[in-house]
């Protein structure tokens, strides 16, 4: 930001001009900061979306903070975040390493793995909803009774079904990130390791994994913060049900705002969502360590 002028030496030290960020910042201001201020303002009002917006002090906040459904939504969100990460991170890491190999069959498989990412979340949700139907779905169609479970209707099972469908859609994206990360690792490191007699597994843990540190941080940030934004898929797949079993925080916000028409409470939930998102993203950035922008390739 501070290098709009000055010697070329300083420019080299501090990277390119901060003005390059200007277009992005302008959009960010327009579509994130200004709406955010609006949401903050609305959280201190009561508004049903139709009539006048009335200033209402902290009443929306007390409603939201004393409502047991909010606590439940936070818990469900935390569970989805945790299980999504546990499921997606290892699968996409391994798939990424696998598809980074130069072999032709791997390139062909990589294209196949990529397909779910091309589908819209709503389409994915509608397709899975039909496949998981206990009477007319996959189980009945293929004559496999164990597939004809009450997948979306059982309060204990549905969370894992949601985690599975989310993983089905987003693993390809993270695989792509890891694939790119692995391809950046210089081959000389592996050659040196081979000369030293390291096997494939040793190479994976001692070269691939440490070299992917920042890729892992990026992918994890997107996974964790992104799970605060799972909305469309869950909305279409379960609508937050059965009961409140999959009512995630963003879904709870939407339903409060656009079904129950309580914009004040929905805005308060929106503010909570933003605060949690920023806190998590900052935390994950911290995990990268103070030196995170230093080169990993010195001497390579």
């Amino acid at each position: 930001m501070s290098t709009t002028s000055g010697s070329s030496r300083r420019a080299l030290q501090q990277g390119p001009s901060g003005w390059l960020a200007a277009p992005a910042l302008a959009f960010f201001l327009l579509f994130a900061i200004i709406p955010l201020i609006g949401v903050l303002f609305l959280s201190f009002t009561s508004w049903d979306g139709l009539g006048e917006i009335k200033l209402d002090g902290l009443s929306s906040w007390t409603t939201v903070l004393t409502d047991p459904v909010t606590g439940n939504a936070l818990l469900v969100t935390a569970k989805i975040m945790f299980f999504s990460f546990i499921v997606q991170a290892p699968i996409s890491l391994l798939l990424g390493v696998f598809t980074a190999g130069g072999q032709k069959y791997r390139a062909a498989l990589a294209v196949l793995y990529f397909v779910p990412l091309l589908l819209s979340s709503a389409a994915v949700a509608i397709a899975f909803k039909a496949l998981l139907d206990p009477n007319f779905g996959l189980g009945a169609g293929l004559g496999l009774p164990f597939l004809a479970q009450d997948w979306l209707g059982d309060s204990d099972l549905v969370l894992f079904v949601v985690v599975f469908v989310i993983a089905w859609q987003f693993v390809p994206f993270h695989t792509l990130i890891y694939q790119g990360g692995v391809r950046q690792i210089p081959g000389s490191l592996y050659e040196a390791a081979q000369i030293d007699g390291a096997g494939r597994i040793q190479q994976f843990f001692n070269i691939t994994l440490p070299q992917l540190k920042y890729t892992i941080i990026t992918s994890s940030t997107l996974m964790v913060v992104g799970s605060l934004a799972y909305f469309d898929l869950v909305f279409v797949l379960t609508g937050g049900g059965p009961g409140y079993a999959t009512r995630l925080l963003p879904l709870h916000m939407y339903l409060t705002g656009f079904k129950a028409n309580d914009m004040g409470a929905a805005s308060a939930l929106g503010v909570i969502l933003v605060v949690i998102g920023v806190a998590l993203a900052l935390l994950l950035q911290r995990l990268g360590g103070k030196n995170r922008n230093a080169s990993q390739l010195e001497g390579a």
């Binding site: 960010f28 994130a32 009477n135 913060v225 059965p242 079904k259 129950a260 920023v278 900052l282």
Partner: protein
């Protein structure tokens, strides 16, 4: 070095905020106005619902437009749930259609309170023909504080207990007339490997039909009238508790098809269970006759579809002839429309809607229009048995209660459906339901 550190901190903070921005953008979504006007800038706009009545409305408007190019209407269709959210947001933003499609009840009242819909009382006074054509019990659902804000626009939709005659014959059963008979049928069908009741539990509103009818039969129409009037602790009425207990007893007895809370009514999977003989009965709206007529033409044509009213509950106060459901759908006219649009809208309401061909179109689709003097037309229809049954049911009902999710305020309606879902899943007790719902009174 220090300035570099600050710079980095700033960048990582900005990055974090932009990651979080994904979630904010959700809060801003959901609003968009009517998409492009094809038929002239000042033509009236109309948003209808996809489903059984879609082709009938489409034809009515197409005919109107070709006969009245000066006051044309631009028609778009939306799916039911999506429409409910979209229209409210659009109306709130001053971008709503000229014709606002509705159900009456709490939602209509919120439009009236916000001054978003026109008072049509004067129009009715000037056009007594319009007022006279309706069944009076249906027309009154568009009246708020003595003024008419919405006019019925299609067919009467009582909730009916449908059954599969084939399956009943196989088991040797009769349609239940009392709740005890209904409960006695459950083990009979289960023994034959047939689910007694189909239920689209994932869509939630089909659950509500059970509560509405049981409360009506046990406590009469006053119980819900008190709830709708926001009387304190109205949900603690013993009739509500008893109805919820009966629902849970039916769940315990295995009355509903396995996995009922995975079944979506929006995809008509619940009706499919009935006509494929996988379940024996279903409690659903009159409108599913229209879709079964299309999806299972042979089943309906060969007279295998049976229908009856919801059974009486012994000791109950409600008249067994009382009905719950949707008296009709309604058109309101947006107060934000231009004078030209309003004029076109009222002209259509006066002479386009319920024209002879529109009435015939509704009857042919398997629906009962909410107008008087159609007995002979109904009798001439191939669906005359069902249509005259529904017409009589609606006309002779001492009381026709509007579906609760429409009658209540949106905040209460949403909480009610979510909590009722928990009742069917046996996650909460009837007492917990009453306590939670009492807390929503007045919201």
């Amino acid at each position: 070095m220090e300035s570099q550190m600050k710079n980095r901190t700033f960048r990582s903070a900005a990055m974090a905020v932009s990651a979080a921005a994904i979630s904010i953008s959700l809060a801003a979504c959901g609003s968009s106005g009517p998409a492009g006007t094809a038929a002239g800038a000042d033509s009236a706009t109309m948003w209808g619902l996809t489903g059984g009545n879609q082709p009938v409305l489409q034809k009515s408007v197409t005919d109107w437009n070709s006969a009245h190019p000066d006051s044309s209407i631009k028609l778009d269709f939306f799916a039911n749930d999506a429409y409910k959210t979209k229209v409210r947001t659009a109306v709130g933003a001053g971008q709503g259609p000229t014709f606002i499609y509705g159900w009456g009840g709490g939602v209509l009242k919120s439009y009236v309170d916000a001054g978003q819909v026109d008072d049509l009382s004067g129009f009715l006074k000037d056009n007594p023909d319009v007022q006279d054509r309706y069944l009076p019990a249906v027309l009154k659902n568009g009246v708020i504080d003595g003024k008419t804000y919405a006019l019925p626009n299609n067919n009467v939709q009582p909730v009916v207990l449908y059954f599969n005659k084939d399956v009943f014959a196989k088991v040797g059963a009769e349609a239940p007339k009392t709740w005890d008979e209904l409960m006695a049928l459950v083990p009979k069908f289960k023994a034959a490997g047939i689910a007694p009741f189909s239920l689209g539990g994932q869509s939630r509103w089909p659950d509500l039909m059970w509560l509405e009818y049981l409360v009506e039969r046990i406590g009469g129409p006053e119980v819900f009238a008190n709830i709708a009037a926001n009387k304190p602790n109205a949900w603690s009425d013993p009739a509500v508790t008893e109805a919820l207990t009966k629902i849970q007893q039916l769940v315990d007895a295995g009355g509903f098809v396995n996995g009922f809370s995975s079944i979506a009514a929006d995809s008509n999977a619940d009706q499919a269970l009935l006509y494929t003989g996988k379940s024996a009965m279903i409690l659903q709206g009159g409108w599913i006759y229209q879709s079964m007529k299309k999806d299972a033409a042979d089943f309906v044509k060969s007279g295998k579809l049976g229908y009856t009213t919801f059974p009486a509950v012994s000791g109950g106060k409600g008249d067994p002839a009382n009905v719950v459901g949707n008296p009709s759908n309604f058109w309101s006219v947006s107060s934000k429309a231009t004078d030209g649009q309003k004029k076109a809208a009222l002209e259509y309401v006066k002479s386009g809607m319920f024209s002879d061909s529109n009435i015939q179109g509704l009857i042919d689709s398997g629906a009962v229009p909410v107008v008087k003097g159609i007995e002979s037309k109904l009798a001439a229809s191939p669906d005359k048995d069902f249509l005259t049954y529904v017409y009589g049911m609606a006309k002779n009902a001492p009381n026709f209660t509007l579906s609760w999710d429409q009658a209540l305020s949106p905040a209460q309606g949403d909480a009610m459906l979510a909590n009722l879902d928990q009742i069917f899943l046996k996650k909460i007790t009837p007492e917990q339901f009453a306590a939670t719902m009492n807390a929503t009174i007045g919201k």
